[in-house]
């Protein structure tokens, strides 16, 4: 009997051993996990990170912000308002259903119903199915950002999401809060299948055996994603080898991760700009462009990046980061205390004035420290600042009320385009269009708005760049807001993972393409 058990155990070990060794697992720790498995429930970094693992977009961004075909194999402009896409053949969903143009059409209709996404898709009218593998994406006006927007179309398995659940609810329903079929079940075309999920604790992804992209060298069989919110714990988990990949690496630990053996630090300039807005309705002096400029001259944003951000930011003089159409080197960061004082005197405010300032203390990297630094810099041109910082949960309602004279806001353009910054941050506030929704400065310049509208109807990239740079130029000249810096991105990874190949400025790593060196 014992002999039998022993040989059985031996057989089991032999049978299991190859399986255990062949599998390449990558353990990932982010500071948060996706709120839902429904890709249309919330427009956030977490959702997009998930979408790139479980779904595939029609096109996606490369590291140098170019477009790369994914589920769409090719595309061409048919007329001013129509872009024709050809789908890749032989793509199947995790359920086994083949991908067709009907799935794209279905997904587009669902996006139009999603509160978070419908804003991005507002210029788009329809998807017209030409044949199984071809569809037209139509806009109401000529629109330059068709491909930008196509990066947000992750075709969903229309057959899988159609019909009703056991308790009679529509499977396709997009529910913002509460329980829905799509928030718990998922079928995409992506490189990974969600095999296990405990929200806030762990998500396990298994490689999809029939993944279409056989050219990709991606060799990861399993990804275990754990949210680790505490910065020191996340870094410790990487350094101790409990996880293989972390994001973000907090600025305080950059050096530590860089110097540690066996792990690599990967950094890249991001596209989120951190700014201050000056409320012209609350403070008379802010109506004077010379005062706004004086503030811009008084703020040493290079110093902030150097000291407070520990070099981990890219000093900005405008909203658009390098690589965007509106970016121009001409709009260099300003800092000159003497000039600032002169401008204040010229505007008749040599003796200065008092203002209130608000900033969050847990939203952006070092946000409260940055605000303190700016407040003390303004003291040098006799502007006395009464600063209040608060957690983001309390900050956003205050921001909506425009509760202080100067308020901090960071912005990342969902469209990865310069016009988006203007639309939300500096355009004349307009409830009907939603323009200027985050313009707590109440800055308003009709000419700038006109340039934005023109740019949004211009499909020639060269002409568009000209319009957008002109727009940025006006904002720069007028000191419409105080640009500080673009936050950099940082990832930590075990050496030999080739993680630098799959990260990008948008911060959704392409894990499907990750090639981990095995046997090392």
């Amino acid at each position: 009997m014992t002999k039998f058990v022993r040989s059985l155990a031996a057989a089991a070990v032999v049978a299991m051993a190859p399986v255990a060794y062949a599998e390449t697992t990558v353990r990932v720790a982010y500071d948060a996990d996706p709120v839902s498995l429904d890709p249309h429930e919330q427009l956030s970094g977490g959702t997009l990170q998930l979408s790139h693992m479980v779904f595939d977009p029609l096109v996606r961004w490369t590291q140098d912000l170019q477009f790369e075909p994914r589920l769409a194999e090719s595309w061409e402009q048919i007329d001013g308002t129509t872009m024709r896409f050809k789908l890749r053949s032989g793509v199947t969903f995790h359920s086994g259903n083949p991908l067709t143009a009907n799935d794209v059409d279905w997904t587009f209709d669902r996006l139009k119903q999603s509160d978070d996404f419908k804003g991005i898709f507002a210029p788009f009218t329809d998807v017209e199915v030409v044949d199984d593998m071809t569809f037209d994406l139509k806009t109401s006006e000529p629109y330059p950002l068709v491909l930008h927007t196509a990066t947000y179309i992750f075709p969903m398995d229309s057959a899988f999401y159609s019909g009703t659940t056991a308790d009679g609810k529509e499977k396709a329903e997009v529910v913002k809060h509460g329980d829905s079929f799509a928030s718990r079940n998922v079928s995409g075309t992506g490189p990974f299948i969600v095999s296990e999920r405990e929200q806030g604790v762990r998500v396990v992804f298994d490689r999809y055996a029939d993944y279409w992209d056989s050219e990709s060298g991606g060799n990861v069989d399993k990804i275990v994603l754990s949210p680790i919110k505490e910065d020191p714990t996340r870094v410790a988990a990487l350094l101790s080898g409990d996880v293989d990949f972390i994001a973000p690496v907090p600025p305080t630990d950059l050096k530590r991760v860089e110097e540690a053996e066996g792990v690599d630090l990967i950094t890249m300039p991001g596209t989120r700009i951190i700014t201050f807005q000056m409320n012209q309705e609350r403070v008379e002096a802010f109506k004077d462009a010379r005062v706004r400029k004086a503030i811009d001259y008084a703020v040493n944003n290079a110093g902030i990046v150097d000291r407070i951000m520990r070099g981990f930011g890219t000093v900005g003089g405008q909203a658009s980061p390098s690589g965007y159409l509106g970016y121009s080197e001409e709009f260099a960061p300003r800092f000159d205390l003497e000039k600032a004082k002169a401008l204040m005197a010229e505007a008749g405010y040599a003796d200065g004035f008092s203002i209130t300032m608000m900033a969050p203390n847990n939203r952006y990297v070092n946000d409260d420290k940055i605000a303190q630094a700016v407040a003390s810099m303004l003291a040098q041109i006799n502007i006395k600042v009464d600063l209040q910082t608060m957690p983001k949960a309390q900050y956003w309602p205050a921001f909506d009320e425009r509760a202080a004279d100067m308020m901090m806001i960071g912005w990342h353009a969902d469209t990865e385009d310069s016009a988006n910054f203007h639309q939300f941050l500096t355009a004349c506030p307009d409830d009907a269009t939603g323009n200027g929704q985050y313009n707590s400065g109440n800055y308003c310049n009709e000419e700038a708005d006109k340039l934005m509208n023109e740019a949004n109807a211009e499909t020639d990239p060269a002409k568009r760049a000209e319009l957008l740079q002109k727009l940025e130029g006006i904002l720069y000249e007028e000191a419409a807001f105080i640009p500080l810096h673009w936050q950099n991105l940082a990832w930590g990874a075990k050496s030999g993972m080739n993680a630098a190949e799959i990260v990008n400025a948008l911060n959704f790593p392409y894990f499907g393409d990750l090639v981990v060196e095995t046997g090392s």
Binding site: D116, P227, A236, S240, D242, Q394
Partner: protein, 326 residues
Amino acid sequence: MFAYLAKRVIQAIAVMFVISLIAFAIQGNLGDPLRELVGQSVSEEVRQQLRDELGLNDSFVTQYLRFAGNALQGDLGTSYFFKEPALDVILKKLPATLELVFGATLIIVGLSVPLGVYTAIKPNSILSRIIMGLSIIGISIPVFLTAILMIFVFSVEFGWLPSYGRGDTVQVWGYWQTNFATADGWLHIILPSIALASIMLPLFVRLIRAEMMEVLQSEYVKYAKAKGINPWRIYFVHALKNTLLPVITVGGVQIGTMVAYTILTETVFQWPGMGFMFLEAVNRVDTPLIVAYLIVVGFIFVVTNTIVDLIYGLVNPTVNIARMGA
């Protein structure tokens, strides 16, 4: 006796009512949950519509009455983040917290008695001075700092113990998954348990020491010594028995407050228990979950206090007479 029981139960209900009212009242000051629920470019109009759907625009009284009515039927609302009944979320997280508290209790009980007794018997030895010195440090360093220091020493530098999470757990019953069934689970619970114990352990060492020293001065110990009884028998059988009575009374109360310290410990170690969940819920403005947590924790305290009072009343009738007079 029955009148006393009824009185205590009515008091408990009144306390629960006040707790629910306070828990519910603070939710208006937590911030706007919509900001955590929707993307940045969603229009104010859509937000307003969602607020209507969530019932956030109703008056406080309407909202509270709706909440209280549901709560009486065991429904404490649905968590925005987990999309599940808040009570279920909490019950799922409860075992992780209880196991952590259990681990810390083991450490406290296992170490405080020998250390306390030793420092009482040999108050002037070098080892005693070291123990007392360490206990001062233990009390004064905040839990989260102890926790982070331990992670960097034992996980990063030596690589002995895992830095976060629960590791492999084994399903036992219902929502209960245990750490104590696998080696990996044991390894994961060591650091968090020590961190959680780090505040209470010094407290108990000092308490046992003080009680023990007092007992050692008493007549019966001196008499036992004079009779020539083995000193170890005196210390651990005669003296310790009398030392532990007050310690156990205090301990019962302290284990309750340990639940509060789990918030810090669990956050640092990303321990998926109730405390970590609560702090996350505050960050996400997941109001139903926050309110439910406060009510559940309040309920646990009210029930234990009531039971303790009732047992006191049974054991010592003078207590309840004195209380009823008060």
